[in-house]
């Protein structure tokens, strides 16, 4: 997968393999907290610590705030799934070079040299930077690849959708980045794919924060 921030602020995900696409399409299912009470409590906790929480506060929170939070969470997935509808076959890096020649100049001025025009070069010698990062190389030449362009104002929805998925995966399957995952346990339980998906989201989220959401 290749990530590029385009001059207009939109984001291009290219060289997406079928597994990447399927992972993104399964985001709502991965992030579904309704079947995991602990995840639901993590995402929708009470507003105050137990000793300071009055019944009135708790009731008001559940009645007025929680529905808005649920709606906000759901909106992220609506945005992501709508963006995924625009997936198209990846024509390859040559097409981007031809179309984005001016883009790379602009990125160089911003201190992120060669984000678009040099994308194909990055595939041969990946040199991750703030605007472009090779997250995963898939050398299979016969594998179909896809490209997706995400509008700049959808970046946060993507971030939150992946964040919610990681929260739920972390709670349901004990996966997190601060400890070495018990791969054997995950493999035995048929849950190893969740770890790969979790790590994919970590990589993409890290790039989104650094290059798109908070690029200072």
């Amino acid at each position: 997968m290749h990530l590029q921030k385009l001059p207009d602020g939109s984001i291009r995900l290219s060289r997406l393999n079928p597994w990447d696409v399927q992972t993104f399409r399964s985001l709502p299912a991965l992030a579904d907290y309704t079947a995991a009470p602990e995840a639901e409590r993590r995402l929708l906790p009470t507003p105050a610590i137990e000793s300071d929480l009055t019944p009135e506060m708790a009731m008001d929170w559940v009645e007025y705030v929680v529905p808005e939070l649920r709606e906000s969470f759901a909106e992220s997935f609506t945005t992501v799934l709508a963006d995924l509808e625009t997936l198209s076959p990846d024509p390859g890096p040559a097409a981007y070079e031809a179309g984005d020649g001016e883009d790379s100049d602009e990125d160089e001025e911003e201190g992120n040299p060669g984000s678009s025009g040099q994308a194909s070069g990055a595939q041969e010698t990946p040199q991750p930077n703030a605007s472009q990062q090779a997250v995963e190389e898939v050398p299979e030449p016969s594998m179909p690849h896809f490209v997706l362009t995400i509008p700049a104002d959808h970046a946060e929805a993507w971030f939150r959708a992946m964040n919610q998925a990681r929260i739920v995966l972390s709670i349901r399957y004990g996966i997190d980045s601060e400890r070495v995952p018990e791969l054997g346990r995950l493999l035995e339980a048929g849950q190893l794919e969740y770890w790969f998906q979790y790590e994919l989201f970590v990589s993409l989220q890290g790039w989104l924060v650094e290059a798109v959401l908070n690029p200072e």
Binding site: P45, T46, A48, W61, E68, L69, I167, G206, N214, E216
Partner: protein
């Protein structure tokens, strides 16, 4: 004539002192009602802390960004708060009235940070 004091109207209110002086004048029929005692300050008046807790999922850069965005802090202040969250397990990111504290907690939860309110002091 009755002069009902607005509520709450503490006994030391200057207007009440004026009425009291007027009532003392001969030939007036002003009667002062008992002063309303100041109500004990409610939860709404007490300061509350907004606390962000460490969690293994949220990226450090994201926590910094959210704190900056919601509270308008400088990058340095937000980064220090993020580091406190990460290293000490929690950090008080704001202190003030209950209603704004609730709003901040809602915004933080909307960004999926682990947070809560607690009474200050």
């Amino acid at each position: 004539m009755f002069l009902p004091p607005p509520s709450p109207w503490p006994a030391a209110d200057p207007l009440r002192q004026l009425y009291r002086a007027m009532a003392a004048l001969p030939g007036t029929d002003i009667e002062l009602l008992p002063a309303v005692e100041e109500e004990e300050s409610s939860d709404l008046d007490q300061p509350w802390h907004v606390v962000v807790f460490n969690d293994p999922v949220n990226l450090m850069s994201y926590v910094t960004m959210v704190i900056r965005r919601i509270f308008g802090y400088s990058r340095e202040k937000a980064e220090q708060m993020m580091l406190d969250v990460h290293q000490k397990g929690q950090c008080i990111v704001w202190t003030g009235g209950r209603e704004p504290a609730e709003l901040y907690v809602k915004q933080l939860q909307e960004h999926q940070l682990l947070c809560s309110m607690k009474k200050a002091g």
